[in-house]
Symmetry: D2
Subunit: 438 residues, 4 copies
């Protein structure tokens, strides 16, 4: 975790205090059920919850000091709780194994992290939608290969992003379900020393599903799927960030990150206004994606478990979720305040002497009976002249002077093919598909 | 694609012929709808389908030769079809862009590949289920950290695999839905020159969903999710493969890959029987996973598209699906024919002088009123002696001779804790959770 | 391997014939030395070489057919050779293990692949150098964050690429040395059944170093380092490719990939000239890099070896080297024929109303005694006006009208700061550092 | 950075204080040279160094507060220093750009980190060497595919590790040289506003090489190579860790991690002694490797730089070096204190009824004139019986009863093939190759 790329709510989730609190809840809920089942005295759970009701501070340092001796984190925690609660605490953790606590805790943390991320996505989607409708019909040039292609609208770009992040949200909801399971099944998953009813009880209390079959641990294909999903979302962030970076290029300058008063773009060059937020998002996407491969490598644990996954998760559990939360927030801010320059978009669109209309003429020629190959040749030879003139020549004028073209198409029909609105007649259709309204 | 790691049905899907056939179908269906809409003469589609009904051979070499000049694969294909069909063919591809064909074709290929993989998973699941029930109560030692922990059954190991590959199947079905979309939206996705009804028609004919909003291409977050899912499945394959490799180790030898007559394990050492299939699966898992990062890097295409994703997909579209198909088939064969040695499992289980029962004694001591810490200490000090004796000493005997222990627990109760069946009482519960039956 | 992204010399290296030929040479050289040592009759090697001298065709299908039975590739090969050579062939492979042959063969292949790649790099470097000197003083705008910064020359961009690919060459030479080792040490690397002198002899004949200590195999950290190095080179290719793609953007158009007669940029839009080669290189970089993670995962083989690395290498040995060879060739062609537009570079450079000179004024103000903070503020407030005017205002004129500025700097000195040549006075220095000449 | 996986010396290197100190040194050395060149008054550097000589505390919070306004870290730092030093400080940073400071600082940090890692490797190598000589002739079974192959010695396993980590050291020294360069070349690397002599001076003072040609930044192929090298080293750590984990498996137990008094292997199972350190190292290897892909993705920055690499390096600069340092230290401790059980090794070696000698009999038969195929068949048929008897049958006895075998080999010669020392006759040779002594 790098503090400058983190936000408090998500970070708090991964603090030792938060983890110990979840551990306690798991143990207390389990003890409660064990009491009901008659395995331990009902007074045990009561003692735990009574102490908990005093809202006790978690002494992380004390727990760490015990771990330094036992070299075992859960035992250290249990020992510390026993010191606080007294004799009744000895009934805690009956028939459970450390991983029951650790893995179920991780499930709670990842589920809560998912909830934050889902909310992040909702906010991002809302902002994108607003900008989409605001610029639903703002013409701008569509580019393939970085080269002017045909007109689109800025709203369509936003609709595309909206559809993509809607998919991301659906994926994240699925990924949350993957990891939100509770396993309290004992040392090797057989429930030999603990009734499955305990697992069911704790799962219900914590809002988790039960893990149908576990070993000592919850199987790591679940976590692999979770982190892979975060990696995909990060890539979608990168895509929108790269779009903004392109639009802010000096020669393009169709949009620009908000530049606050007092901000300095460069220590050396006072004239600079750089898309540093979206560049940063590009980097953060790499950081989030870095969790994917280790998570895949974590799946093939040996037999009923080895502990190699643990250190990986200590890094990337926090790092991937905290960084993704920050990145989603940053992207939301960027899109929310993005400076959008419709005049510049129109100026750029017009820049190529009408080349963006070449396809319509091609189609018209074909429909007028010229072979596809000839049509292509007639248009291309004029288009290349315009291209090489850097937009000084006009495609319309050249076509009107090309007798092969005029032999097939009346001049008025050629002129008609250079109409911008023609391209936007399906924008409403697309908006209805994406937003359910237009 | 490496021939030795491929199977014919999946490989055929990626041959040039298969691709050109799908291209033709897309073009012909689109022309059909364009005819209905009155954009082109209805005779155009008829001419195409009439030719198609002759079941014409696809002349890949001829198409390649045209591409060598045009440097454009779809134009080369259209030119070749036009040569075959004649004049009516000039109405094909009206208002479409190459990517409409290429991306929709890829969607068909990935959907069909998914269907094969889903069937592979079904076969694997069936085999795993059979072995699971066959060995539902075959005792074997559960191991955490590679060290004997407590007893499980071989059937439980299989149940775990069954649950994991069931999740893989659900993920694959979701991944299929991600990529099975049709986009026929023109040069920059605006439908400027083609009615959305064409897209809807082609989608329906090919069994795809429509892409709600595309640029020039179908957005690559879909493909990233697809390949990431394959990577997770590969990791699950690796996990089961590693399990078999461990079980076949000379010192363990609880299970063994089938070794066919005439097979030679080593050119130098005639005594060898190696788990080469599962080792190979471990490697193939790495190969499939190799597609994940490039697929994530493919998402952030520039503006309405750049073509950097294309070469990546030419490699990993075939490689990842062909290799995964092969790997699933190989794994199914391994599990189907796996030699399982229950006697050896029991012998290994007994090897540690009863250490595997240590937890039950610990629990009994705690329940008898000994503090958790003392209980642990009493059991651990005896367990360590057994451990260091390499199983020559018996934990039961040592405990019966430990007065701290016998002060708390009657000898008969200690002996009762060394009962194997105790561990299997919830196997039916777990089986019902996993298989819906026990 | 994807044929369209391959070249014949590199591809030939990975054909079965090439592999079998290397296998034969290893076996024959080894038999030769075994003969000298008196372990086998000297006639054995003679029989092998005599047969070899007849330049026999390698019957791949026959060898494959034997492997289908033995399930062991080296045994299949030895059996086939024995069928050809006769009785004397039984002395081949004495005391050796398959991996002695397989790993030493891979070392030969990777060394030869490296030689091709080094030559590729030499050709690329030569072309880059030519373009660097050609445009040593061609002014162009330097951009940070995609935003105009200060002037550079196109030659400097090329010098940067030259330095980078020179480093790549040095890394590749080191990577070649990593993998070019010979191991003929028997089943577990002890030389129990084969004299180390055999290894030394074969190594010398094949131009390899000896492997100081092997297990059954050559340790895979060597190969990991090799493929990681290819991944770095691929990333450098990506960097230069991305530079070209940016320069060809419609709004920038300072350089352009060569566009051949007859080429079609788009099936739909006849006006298009797209940077498809460099976009393709961007994708191929991802493909080559995909080999890195599997190669790292291949290192931790179990004990004296497991065979999980083998399938990975069957894919990525060919794929990574063939693709990198192709990519280097393609990049060489792109740079060689790159259309460079100095007028457009100058036009773009002038576009921002002189903003690119803001730093020099800042420095002059500071040196004239104005505090750094005030200097920055004076320049920034004028620069922002120019920025927002889209280059319609002139920074020089605004500064000359800013009394804070003119209070510190005479107008003539301000004007002097807008001199372009000033920026290029160290170009010779840099060229001498990079090329050893200027 | 995860505290439990870090050590103080490496961690300190990445603290804000350490970074700001290096920044100061860069600025002060540069000002010094600028003074010599007459660009700024010589008093400026004097003022800086005089203040520095007072060993001032770096007020990180104050600098952060300034950055919160300027949104630029280097400007914030310069402002703070100016507040401390006074008026003379305004000459700092003349003609430099932030990246001159940031990138040169990173070079210093990575070089110092490399020095720590090189020392770590030296300590690891020393420990491995000691254990290698200690067990130079301790027999143990060599395993391929996890299956007994032929005898090796434990010292040979250590020699292999020694050779591998020696290579890692050489690679790290090369990687250090890659990144230890100084760039002070101004806003776009042209030295327009700063003399190259400044760069040379600072480089010399900080023990760095000059960067022959930079853009605004030091090219990131250098860092990619650095992190890729760390990834390879991590994989070698994983390999040795996996070896220990295998050796400690219950059924094998030929070696064991040191288990300290008071340690608890499991909260549930008091009998457990788990190889948790090496399992942890397996996970940490994944963590270090996670830096490789992002570092490769950082190479293709746009034009003269974009800032996407920065966040990636803020994570993985510290994380990869701190984690690798910790891992090397942990591995050194594991090997140093590894409990090694020669009796158990011998017991395991004898377990397979002499199968490990099968190759020698095969060779003897071949040399006695039996064809390779027949020899293989005679030995294999007996070996398979032993295999299936789980070592109850003896290969020697079966061979002596096989008339095909005895027809070719006298019984005494068969018996001679079952001699263990035979396998170790080249151990001295290998040791001399690896250690230069035996």
């Amino acid at each position: 975790m790098v503090p400058r790329y983190s936000r408090p709510a998500m970070t708090a989730l991964w603090e030792p205090e938060a983890r110990f609190k979840i551990w306690f809840e798991i143990e207390a809920h389990a003890t409660e059920k064990l009491g009901e089942l008659g395995v331990v005295p009902p007074s045990a759970a009561k003692a735990l919850w009574d102490w908990w009701a005093t809202n006790p501070a978690i002494d992380v340092a004390a727990i760490d000091a015990i771990e330094a001796v036992t070299k075992h984190d859960v035992i250290a925690f249990l020992t510390w709780v026993a010191e606080q609660v007294g004799d009744e605490a000895r009934f805690m953790h009956q028939g459970m194994t450390s991983s029951d606590v650790l893995d179920t805790c991780l499930a709670v943390q990842l589920a809560r992290a998912s909830d934050i991320l889902i909310e992040d996505l909702d906010q991002l989607l809302e902002v994108i939608k607003r900008r989409a409708f605001e610029h639903k019909l703002t013409p701008t040039i569509g580019r393939s290969h970085g080269i002017h292609a045909e007109p689109v609208t800025f709203g369509l770009k936003m609709a595309e992003a909206y559809a993509e992040f809607s998919r991301c949200k659906a994926r994240l909801i699925a990924a949350r379900a993957e990891v939100a399971t509770c396993a309290i099944s004992g040392a090797v998953g057989t429930f030999a020393n603990i009734d499955p009813a305990v697992e069911e009880h704790v799962a219900e209390k914590l809002g988790l599903a039960i893990e149908p079959v576990s070993t000592q641990v919850i199987p790591r294909d679940r976590h692999a799927m979770f982190f892979a999903t975060l990696g995909v979302i990060a890539s979608s962030i990168e895509r929108l960030a790269v779009e903004v970076r392109h639009l802010q290029r000096t020669e393009v300058l169709e949009a620009e990150e908000y530049f606050s008063p007092g901000q300095k773009g460069s220590s050396a060059m006072p004239h600079k206004r750089n898309p540093v937020l979206t560049e940063n998002l590009t980097g953060l996407a790499r950081v989030v994606r870095a969790a994917v491969v280790p998570a895949l490598e974590n799946v093939a644990l040996w037999h009923e478990r080895d502990i190699s996954h643990s250190s990986v998760e200590r890094f990337f559990g926090p790092d991937a979720t905290i960084t993704l939360d920050f990145a989603l927030g940053r992207l939301t801010g960027v899109i929310d305040k993005l400076l959008i320059y419709p005049e510049r978009m129109m100026k750029n669109l017009d820049k190529m002497g009408g080349l963006v209309h070449s396809q319509r003429v091609l189609l018209a020629l074909t429909q007028a009976g010229v072979s596809r190959e000839d049509s292509y040749r007639y248009v291309q030879r004029n288009a290349m002249k315009v291209w090489e003139s850097d937009g000084q020549l006009s495609l319309l004028e050249l076509l009107k002077a090309d007798t092969d073209v005029t032999a097939a198409l009346p001049v008025a029909e050629i002129e008609d093919k250079f109409n911008l609105d023609y391209h936007f007649k399906q924008v409403d259709t697309i908006f209805r598909r994406v937003f359910g309204e237009a």
